[in-house]
Structure formats: C-alpha cells, structure tokens
Amino acid sequence: MTDPVRILGFVNHIAPSPDIEEAIDRAFAWGVDVIVAQGTGSDWGPYWLGSGDQPSANQAANVEPYVRAALRHGVPFVFSFGIAGGDPHLDTCLAAFDELCRRNGWAPRVGVIRSEIAPETLSAAVTDGPPVLPASTDAGLATPLTAADVAEAERIVALIGPEPVMAALDQGVDGVITGRALDIGLFMALPMLRGLPTAIAAHAGKMLECGGLALEPGDSGRCIWASLDDTGFTVRSPHVGAAPSARSLVSHTFYERSHPTWEENPGGALDLSRATYAERDRGHGTEVRCEGAVWHEAPYTVLMEGARREGFRAVSLLGVREPALLAQARSWTDAAERAVAEAPRFADAVREGRLRLQTRIFGLDAVLGDLEPNPAITGHEAGVLVDVVADTEELAKEAAYYAFIRLFIGPYPGRKTTAGNAAAPLMPVVVPVADVFSFSIYHLLPLEDPVAPFPTTVVTFPRATTPIREEVSADAAV
C-alpha cells in the first residue's frame, strides 16, 4: 500500500480569488504533498510562440500565495510558465520570479526545465530517426515533417511529459518550473515518483489541471485539492461556497477535448470510459471519489508546436451609423477591397500572395462568416474592421490606409453624407498590430528517452544579476 499523495492544484495564468489564503490554509489542514499549476497552452494561438511575447498575465504574482505556503510547509511546487512556453517566455517569467523571491526574502532551489527544441536537434531527428508525423489528421500539415519545415519555423517547443519533472523532483528541489508542458504531466509527476499507478495519476491530473474550474460553480481563479492512492483519488474544494460534484467532474473531463473519455498522451492513452464518480458527504462539504481509469501503454512521443511567420498585421476601424449605408454595407466594403486589389501599386504583392486584405463587418457576419444565416444588418450601427496581412509592416499599413480612405470617401448609391461615410474611432487611423504566425508544426516526436532532451538545471532564486558593464569607447576621452 503506497502512501497517499495529496495535490493542491490551480492555474497560474489566472489571478487567484480573494479568499485564496484561507483556501490554501484549509488544504494544508487536510495535508498537501505538492502544489501544481499549469501556465502554458496553445489555446491562445500561434502568435505568442512565434513572437516570443506573452499575454500580460503576471504569472509570478499569481503564484505568490502558493509559493509562500509551499516554502513554509516544506513541500515542492511544480509550475509550467509562459503560455507558449519557449525560452523567451520562460525567461520573462523567471525574471519576475526572481523579483518575487527578492521581495519576499525567499531563496528556493528550483529545478528549471526548458521546453524549446533546437532546430538542429529536430532536423537531425527528422533526417535520421523514425518519421515525425502530425499529431492529428485535422491539421492538414506536412506529413511527415521535413527539414524545410523545421528551418522555416520561428520557434519550436515540446510539451514535456511527467518524466523530466519526476527527474527534477527526485533531486530534492523546493520547486520545479518548466516551459511548455503537458498539463496533466505536471500533476502526474509526484504521484508516479511515489509509485502510484499512471492511470490514477493521469485521471487526477485531468480533474485538477484547471484548478477550481472543475468545482461547482466553476472558477479557475480558485484552487482544488485531491488525495491519490492505489485505487483512485478523492477530490475536495478548499473554498467555502464551491464544491466538487460527480456532474462537475464528469463535465470537466469533457473540457477542451475532442473525445470525452479517450486521450492520447506521451507513452500511453488515458481511458475514462469505465471511470466512476461517487459523491460522499463529509458532514462539512461534499467530496467525490474517482476510480476506474485505465492507461493503455503506447510508444513514447512528445507533441511539438512550431510557429512560422506569415506576415505583419495592420488594422483600421470604422463605425457606421448611416441607415442608407447600413443597408448596403457589404457592397461598399467589397468596393474598397476591389480598389486595393486593383491598384497598380499593390498588384504584384496581391498576385504573389504577399498582401491579403479582409473587411469584416461587425453587426453583419464578422463572427460566423459564411455560416451566418442573417443576410442583412439588423441593428442601428455596425463596425468595419479593415484587416490586412502583408509581408512587411510598411505594405500592410499602406494597404490598410488605402482601404480606409476608399471606405471613408468612396461613393455609393444614394449617398447623402458626402463629407465622410463613417466614424473614425482610432488615431493613428491605421494601427500596426504585430507579426502574424501560423502553427506550421504540430507533430509527434518519438523519444527513446523522455528525459534526456529536457535536462533540469537547479538554480537558487533570486539569481544573481549580472551588472551591466559601461562600455567606454576608445575616443570618448578626446
């Protein structure tokens, strides 16, 4: 009989709820062996991975109450950081974590695991190893991956599995921080290290990975607690006013997944088709006992995500309140699109695919596009977004401005408003947005050793800052 492993789970890119200190104390009164939170994902699309930027989620600030509790009680924390989870994202978060530790006077020893894959490593795998196939047939991506795909990608990360985290925890660190990682893998690491069955570790990970979202009412700013043993696990809510229920947990197994009971993971598939969820009254709140998960072993692969630059986006926005124009908005925007496409200055770029322009009419079909059943604007106002993607910022801005002007002054049948067709809410009238990326790699990399490509570096935080040397040029004293 293995000792139970008790996990406190939350989501670190969501700010914690106001009662978080009290909830953490309640969880520790039950006992906690590890605090785990995921903070990476591809749900935000490929922009972040390609650009090295991240949503301003302040993940370090979000983990503060949890790290304080972990250090006070001497239990490890495990976090993935940085949304896209490449090196620049992780480094941004680690710098914020330095600051957090400095401010609190903490000095934790942390195992840092990077998830970015060097292009040369992957090229070698593509050339010499077994085929690197797309993770799903949905993607319509190159199959199998080629060296050219690797070369074109701006950045490539792997969703590391539980094994590198287990290896880090095995070194007796105060915590583990990773880049892009398999969410449930972070939760699986300590239970697997302590000898609990993989199926139970994975099932619990699935229940805990979104924190309090699996409770009733769901709120991912809240935390969630579970105790895992040899035969299953028991889920509780550390928060007053939220509770797990069989319904809330089963619902959560559906969340953001194609299949309700089957999920392929590194080294195997988690099968919940025979899982059971039994509510029990503890006298002061409900707990739910979860059992019956099955793990089907499979060859070990990690999912890789790679982003390729597709161009630069610039946008412009116009507001329409004029009834005569609302009645013919689409033909008016079509005329502006045509004007750009037919302008000699843009002809080559359009023909070569280096310039793409769309006008989206909010109030008509901007959300659903061709699937919108309403053929006309039914409201009293509408917004038009001029959306341009071109290979350079300059070209994108020029085309967006050209389209804006056509929309603003272009004639249309029955026009009375000859000084201007629409309201302009933004200055600059054309807003340069950012580079645009696509997921060009969404493939499974076979690995013989799940740990070797993702070594742990043990670092004490806050890390020593390197003083910036003042560069004095040779002729400065002249």
């Binding site: 699309g45 319904r247 953001e256 194609s258 997921f439």
Partner: protein, 101 residues
C-alpha cells in the same frame, strides 16, 4: 425548438488548434429529446456547420449527467491569419440555432 433553448449549458472551445468541441448539457426533461434527435448525429452536425460528415469527429452522450459532446474539425483555425474566433468560443452558434428535431 432551437437547440439553444433546449440546452441549459452550451459551450464551445478549441480542442487543440485544429478542432472545435461543443459540450451540451440538458435537464432531465429535454435530454431524451436531444438524445433521439437527428440534429445531434454526425449527419445533422455536418449539415449545421456546412461541412462533410467526415469532418465531424464524433457525437457522444453521457446519460449520467445528461450531456452530449460534439467535435468538428475547424474549417478556419487559430493558425489561419484571418481566423475570426480564435478560442472557438462562438462556434456553437450554427448548431445552437438549428432546430432540435
């Protein structure tokens, strides 16, 4: 009755960058109606989304919690520069507005 009016919760979200999944929850009274509908079948879902049936990854039921799950390959995903709904949070709409028959 539209599916939107029959469901108590209807939530759509990406399931990875290339698929959208719609989770539908019903009360005990409307669940049998949904369970036996032609809308919530691969053919019905394909028609609602204007895709071919092979693009519907599946329709599943959970009688314990009166829920259904529908998954469809995304016709425009977050990897398309002009994707209009990055998280897929409004992609339930074509299904929700269809008649539950």
């Amino acid at each position: 009755m539209q599916l939107y009016d029959a469901a108590t919760i209807i939530r759509s979200k990406n399931a990875g960058p290339f698929a959208v999944t719609v989770d539908l929850f019903f009360d005990a009274e409307t669940y049998p109606l949904a369970r036996s509908s032609t809308l919530l079948t691969p053919a019905g879902v394909a028609a609602a989304y204007g895709v071919t049936e092979d693009q519907v990854k599946g329709v599943w039921w959970d009688d314990r919690i009166h829920a259904a799950k529908v998954s469809v390959v995304r016709w425009s995903s977050s990897t398309d520069p002009f994707c209009a709904d990055l998280f897929g949070a409004h992609l339930h709409t074509p299904l929700a507005q269809a008649e539950l028959v």
